[in-house]
Structures are given as structure tokens and as C-alpha cells.
């Protein structure tokens, strides 16, 4: 049985390897810097003395400096790592990164590695049904162009279908590709030039019709306005029908602070970006009376507005 919790993946091993890979001799100070940067909070206390006292006999001490007895190692892949990679090759999204020839060649490399699971072993039961079409060759090409542009810090021009089904041309400095598990789709986060202004934008890849590289300098794409601060939503959660636990899990992908008020109720602050407001609103509504919005005023007004509309329907009473 493959082990997930194994010393071979230990952070200390990685740090020691980085120190051993250092060219020539290394000082205790430099070792400390590496431990501080890559280690855990208290690794200076536990790992550094082992190195400076040469407890592992990996160094030869020379005038207060340390000469590694061996250069850092390149660890072979573990069986679990090979199996995980072999498994991913059958994911439909693998073809976004690798063409057919590359996939074949990798499958050959992993022919002795049993996959960990099949895609059919999982059922994502509430995933949206209009996910991206990863089999579309045009989509794959656009994905690869964007990936290349992010890595090369290039600017691209995108022909994009807007929500109103109009085609627009956008000049974008791509920053990140964001994958949504719920929507099963990719979005591009980037800076879009709009006249003399530069604004942050989120573009869905499935709405892109073409992606071409431009000669514009990526450095010129700097946001005109600072990114707005995150909004704060304040909820009062009543622990009926296991609502507390459900809410904590459902909102786990937001930064949040929770306080217990009494045995049955909790106060929870959720920090969110304005672009996620509607999504958060319907998530909050989905809890019904188990969650009450206490602030901010703007979010509260959105909840009330929806409830007023609902009350106006005859069947609602």
C-alpha cells in the first residue's frame, strides 16, 4: 500500500537537499537563511542545530564553514508519484497540456504504473453541466497560447463573445488561469487595456474565439486603480439542522472569522471580492432561515430585495 505520509516527502529532507546543492562551502548564516525561508515556523530551533552541529555527518567543517560531502540528490519518483501521474494522463484536461504524441510517449513511460483511479470512480454530483469542451482542438490551442503568454509575460489580443452575444476585441496581459471545480471551466484573470485605462478582468475561455500574440510591452499593463479591498459580510448562523457545520464547510474557500455567541448561534465574518457577490448571495439564501445577514448594509439590502420580490408572488404566503 502506497504511503502518503512518508518521510521521503518531509520538508526537512527538501531543505537539507537544497543546502547540499549549494555551490562550494556554506556558512551557518546562509544555512539559517535557507531554513528560515523554506522551513516551518520553528525549524530554526529543530533543524538548524542538526546542521550546524553536523549531526548527520553530511559536511566537513573548515574554519567555521561547511563543505558538503556530497552534492544534492535528485530523488527518483516514488511509486505513488508515478501512479498519480499515470492516472492524470487519462483526465480529459491532460490534452490541454500535452498533445497526442506526448501523451502516448508518457503513457509508455508509465506502462508499469497502475493508475490510482479511473475518472468513473468519481461522481461530481452537483457540478454544472455546461463545463468547457476540452476535446475541442480550437479550445486546446487557445489554452496553450494563453499558457505560453503567461509564462513569457506577453500581451495577447482576444476575440471574445460578451454576455450580450456581441464579439469584442480585447488586449490583455494574462496573469493567471483559474480553474473552477464547480463550473468545470477555466477563466483567464488578466489586465485589459480599455482606452487609456487598465482594468482587471476575468474572461471565460469557452467564450474566446481567437487568441493572438501582440507586440505590446507587458510592463505597460499596470492597473490604473488599486484593486478594491475585499468586502466583509457578517452572518449570524443558527445551529439548526446542522447548519453551522454545513456553512463552515460551504464557505471554507473564503477567508473567514467565526465566533461562538452561545450554544446555538455563531457570528461569522466572510471576506469576499465584489465579483463574487451574486454567487455568495445565492449561497447565503440557500441556507434559508438558518443564516441571517447582519451586514454590511449593501449585502443586507440585496437579501431583502430578493425576499420582497418573493413575497410579491401569491404562492409565497
Amino acid at each position: 500500500m502506497d504511503k502518503l505520509f512518508s518521510e521521503i516527502y518531509n520538508r526537512y529532507f527538501l531543505i537539507v537537499n537544497r543546502i547540499l546543492s549549494h555551490r562550494g562551502k556554506i556558512t551557518a548564516k546562509r544555512m539559517g537563511e535557507v531554513v528560515q525561508k523554506d522551513g516551518f515556523g520553528e525549524s530554526m530551533l529543530f533543524l538548524l542545530p542538526k546542521l550546524t552541529e553536523n549531526a548527520w555527518e553530511l559536511f566537513e567543517e573548515e574554519n567555521g564553514e561547511y563543505r558538503p560531502k556530497l552534492r544534492g540528490v535528485k530523488t527518483p519518483l516514488s511509486r505513488l508519484q508515478k501512479r498519480w501521474l499515470a492516472t492524470l494522463l487519462s483526465d480529459p484536461r491532460a490534452a490541454l497540456f500535452l498533445d497526442e504524441k506526448q501523451l502516448l510517449s508518457l503513457r509508455k513511460s508509465f506502462q508499469d504504473s497502475e493508475t490510482l483511479y479511473d475518472q468513473s470512480d468519481f461522481r461530481y454530483f452537483d457540478r454544472f453541466s455546461d463545463g468547457d469542451d476540452y476535446a475541442d482542438e480550437g479550445y486546446r490551442e487557445r489554452f496553450r497560447s494563453i499558457l505560453k503568454a503567461i509564462k513569457g509575460q506577453s500581451v495577447i489580443r482576444i476575440r471574445y463573445e460578451s454576455r450580450s452575444a456581441r464579439y469584442i476585441s480585447l488586449t490583455v496581459r494574462p496573469l493567471y488561469l483559474e480553474y473552477s471545480m464547480k463550473n468545470d471551466c477555466y477563466r483567464l484573470l488578466g489586465i485589459v487595456r480599455s482606452g487609456s485605462r487598465m482594468r482587471k478582468s476575468i474572461l471565460r475561455l469557452s467564450r474566446m474565439k481567437s487568441v493572438v500574440f501582440c507586440r505590446d510591452e507587458a510592463e505597460a499593463f499596470v492597473l490604473t486603480k488599486e484593486e478594491p479591498k475585499q468586502e466583509k459580510l457578517v452572518l449570524r448562523i443558527s445551529d439548526e439542522r446542522n447548519a453551522m457545520e454545513r456553512a463552515m464547510l460551504q464557505f471554507a474557500d473564503y477567508r473567514k472569522n467565526t465566533q461562538r455567541l452561545d450554544d446555538r448561534s455563531y457570528r461569522c465574518e466572510i471576506f469576499y471580492d465584489r465579483e463574487d457577490e451574486t454567487e455568495l448571495l445565492i449561497e447565503v439564501l440557500s441556507f434559508g432561515p438558518m443564516i441571517r445577514v447582519e451586514g454590511d448594509e449593501h449585502f443586507l439590502s440585496l437579501v431583502k430585495e430578493r425576499l420582497k420580490k418573493q413575497e410579491a408572488f401569491p404562492a409565497s404566503c
Binding site: 526537512y12 527518483p76 506526448q102 449561497e283
Partner: protein, 423 residues
């Protein structure tokens, strides 16, 4: 009394603390009954040490104790900070020394040595004394992990190293794929370990609607997947999050059900005793033990039964064939010109339910399910647009009949909300 250590032998206990600090974030020492104050303090100190950038400490209301929470905004991060938990396995001095000495001596692809030769080489090359037994044990351990390969030559057992990542074809493309998949694929920590080993960061991909705490269940998931691969039944020890009571359940694991909205994963098992398909939350499973083999043909039949039934299952409830059926008819108001996205929501989120335009700006959604209550949260997400809601259930004779009790339960909640917000 043992001294505090940053690394740990066993992940089980610590995993529960990390989950509680991350998911809830309001628990203090008094919320962990049955644990000594020292145990709590040590676990808390460790978690602060592993995840210093994400820890927030607050005083509780009465200011008598501190609680800690993990502040993680996953969508702004290029990895899952909770992966750190998997990098904390303790080791002995000998483990670390042999790791580097052996992998260095076997660095050459063609190098193949016996344990005795390796023991001698460690002395010759690095001036360190190692005993043959420890070297052999470590070599066998690493062969088991897949880092080394073993071959017999006459009476000798020779060890050489396994394939390295940089020896694979198209490593650049593969690295990009790992950067992305470590964030959203099951067992993403494995991908993260490959990137860490190569000192590769991810400056390209982000994840939305991801659940960092999934990684804490990945060892349980791995055991269940292995049982599924090997066509074996399992015994799972389940602990309720509410009352901490433990129960043992057995059955044949068939599928992993994942909710991309609620942050829960389940294993759906077949229980022969009850001829049912119960689902158990992975975050409540403490232990998995593989038991008897299940004939492949039998497993296939069970999977076919599950698939057939899944069409009617909204979430995870009512998979067993003898549970009744319910029908939901939901009438939604949406402006045809400006609110087409609402109709799109019904289609894409409605898990195959039918959507029909019944009048101007009015759409009817219909779906037959095993448990309509599971749909309530989704239905409530349309508050402000619900023109009508009808629920039908099968009566004793198997006929569909309106279920007024369930309908009024939905409307009672709405009434509560009107009062709550003084509408």
C-alpha cells in the same frame, strides 16, 4: 514527559485539529474534551509552526482563552497551504543520512549495488559507519516506496535507482499540468511533492471553488481507491462530528461522490446486510480496513444498479432501490430578454431536470428524485423568482400524490425569513 517536537509520527490526531481550526476556527481548548491541556497546546503550537502565515489567534468572548483559526483564501493562492501537514513525518538521524548517501551512491542510472557494497561505499566515500542491516532495511523500504528497483543476480540482491522526473519526456508540459492538477485533483499533495522536490513554484494556476480541507482526507481516500482497484470490501470506522460516537460499517466501496458546492466527499458502499447503498462522509472516516475480495462480476452488477439509480439521486440520499420517488415542479419567473441566465441556471444546475417555457417570462422545471429535501438549498437560491412550488410523492399504492407537508415546510421557512428581515 516528552519534549515538544515540530515533526510527528502519526498524522491522525493532528489532522483533526487542523480540520477544526480551518473549518470552524472558533474552537478553544475547552472544545477538545478528553485531551489534556498539554496535548492541545502542543498540537496548537505545531499547527502555528507549520502554517504561520495563515494562523490567526483571537481571545474568546470571555477573554479567558485563545482560539486559533486558519485564514486561507484559496482562490488567491498558488497551492494548498494544508499540504504542509503531509510534510511533517518524523525520522531518525539514520533515516536522513541513509537517504542522502544511498541516493547519491545510486545516482548513476547504471549503478547497481548490493546492500553490503553500499555499506562499504558509505564508509569509503563519506567516512560514516553504517550497519549492513540498517542499509538493507532502508534499501527494501525505498524499493517498497518505488524509489529503488531490485534485481537478483545469482545470490546477490542488487539495488539501483528508479526513474527520475527529469528523465521523463516533455517535462515542461508535464510540470505545467502538475501545477494545475495539484490544486483540484484527488491526492493533489502527490503533485505538490513532485513540484517541491524540483523546487518548482506555480505562478500560473489558481483554483476557484476549491476545498483545501479535502487534502486532510486524502489518506482515507487512497485506501478506499485501493480497495476499489482491488475489488475488495472494506470496514470503515466512522466518527460523528457532532457527538464523536464511533461506529463500524462494512461493505463494498463503489464510488466516490463529490459535492463541488458543499465541500463534502463521500464513499458510496454497497451493504449486503441491508441490500442498500449508504454514503459516508470521508471527513468522518477515521480508518479503512480492506477485507474480503468481491468477485468482479458482482461489483459490476452493483455499479450498474448504482448508475441506474443515480439518475434520480440529487445528492447522496435515497440511493437504495426501495426508497420512494418524489417529483418537484418549480415555476420560476425570469425576464426572457434580460434574464436568460436564470433559465441557463435551471438547465446547467438542474441535474437533468426538464425546463419548459409555460408563459411569457415563466419557466417550469421538473425533476423526479429520491429525496426532494436535498434540493431545498438549491431551490432557495432562486428566492425572489419562485412563482410556485409543487411536490409530489408516491403514496402506499405507488401513485404520485401532492405532498402538502413538504411544500408547507418550504413555505414555513420562507415565512421565517420574511419575519427575520421584517419584510
Amino acid at each position: 514527559m516528552s519534549e515538544f517536537q515540530e515533526l510527528i509520527k502519526n498524522i491522525d490526531k493532528c489532522r483533526d485539529y487542523v480540520r477544526d481550526f480551518f473549518v470552524y476556527g472558533f474552537k478553544s481548548r475547552s472544545d477538545f474534551p478528553g485531551k489534556s491541556a498539554r496535548t492541545y497546546d502542543d498540537e496548537r503550537r505545531r499547527i502555528v509552526s507549520w502554517l504561520p502565515e495563515y494562523v490567526r489567534e483571537d481571545f474568546t468572548e470571555n477573554e479567558r482563552s485563545k482560539n486559533i483559526s486558519l485564514q486561507i483564501d484559496q482562490k488567491k493562492l498558488d497551492t494548498n497551504p494544508l499540504f504542509s501537514v503531509w510534510q511533517t513525518k518524523s525520522f531518525t538521524d539514520r533515516d536522513l543520512m541513509l537517504h542522502f548517501f544511498l541516493l547519491k551512491l545510486l545516482e548513476d542510472k547504471d549503478a547497481a549495488y548490493s546492500a553490503a557494497e553500499l555499506t562499504e561505499l558509505i564508509m569509503d566515500e563519506y567516512g560514516c559507519e553504517a550497519d549492513l542491516q540498517s542499509v538493507r532495511r532502508k534499501c527494501n523500504e525505498y524499493a517498497e516506496e518505488g524509489l529503488l528497483t531490485v534485481r537478483r543476480e545469482g545470490k546477490s540482491v542488487l539495488y539501483s535507482r528508479g526513474i527520475r522526473f527529469d528523465e521523463l519526456p516533455c517535462t515542461e508540459e508535464l510540470t505545467d499540468m502538475i501545477r494545475c492538477f495539484q490544486l483540484d485533483q484527488p491526492l493533489g499533495i502527490v503533485g505538490h511533492s513532485i513540484l517541491s522536490e524540483r523546487d518548482e513554484a506555480n505562478g500560473i494556476f489558481r483554483i476557484k471553488h476549491g476545498f483545501p480541507s479535502f487534502t486532510l482526507e486524502d489518506e482515507i481516500l487512497l485506501c478506499l481507491l485501493e480497495a476499489m482497484r482491488e475489488n475488495r470490501a472494506v470496514e470503515v470506522l466512522i466518527q460523528s462530528n457532532r457527538n464523536r460516537r464511533e461506529v463500524l460499517k462494512s461493505g463494498c466501496p463503489l464510488k466516490i461522490f463529490v459535492s463541488t458546492r458543499s465541500g463534502r466527499r463521500y464513499v458510496c458502499m454497497y451493504s449486503g446486510k441491508r441490500n442498500s447503498f449508504p454514503c459516508f462522509r470521508l471527513d468522518q472516516i477515521k480508518e479503512v480496513k480492506c477485507t474480503d475480495p468481491v468477485p468482479e462480476k458482482e461489483r459490476k452488477t452493483l455499479l450498474a444498479r448504482l448508475e441506474e439509480r443515480s439518475v434520480y439521486v440529487w445528492g447522496v440520499s435515497g440511493i437504495t432501490e426501495n426508497s420512494g420517488m418524489q417529483k418537484l415542479v418549480l415555476t420560476i419567473h425570469a425576464d426572457e430578454d434580460s434574464e436568460a441566465y436564470i433559465v441557463q441556471r435551471l438547465i446547467r444546475e438542474g441535474e437533468g431536470g426538464t425546463v419548459e417555457r409555460t408563459a411569457a417570462d415563466t419557466f417550469r422545471y421538473e425533476k423526479t428524485v429520491t429525496d426532494v429535501m436535498e434540493m431545498f438549498p438549491w431551490i432557495r437560491s432562486f428566492i425572489g423568482r419562485i412563482e410556485g412550488l409543487k411536490i409530489y410523492g408516491t403514496d402506499g399504492s405507488g401513485k404520485m400524490k401532492e405532498d402538502a407537508e413538504l411544500e408547507s415546510r418550504f413555505y414555513r421557512d420562507l415565512q421565517k425569513m420574511y419575519r427575520m428581515y421584517e419584510i
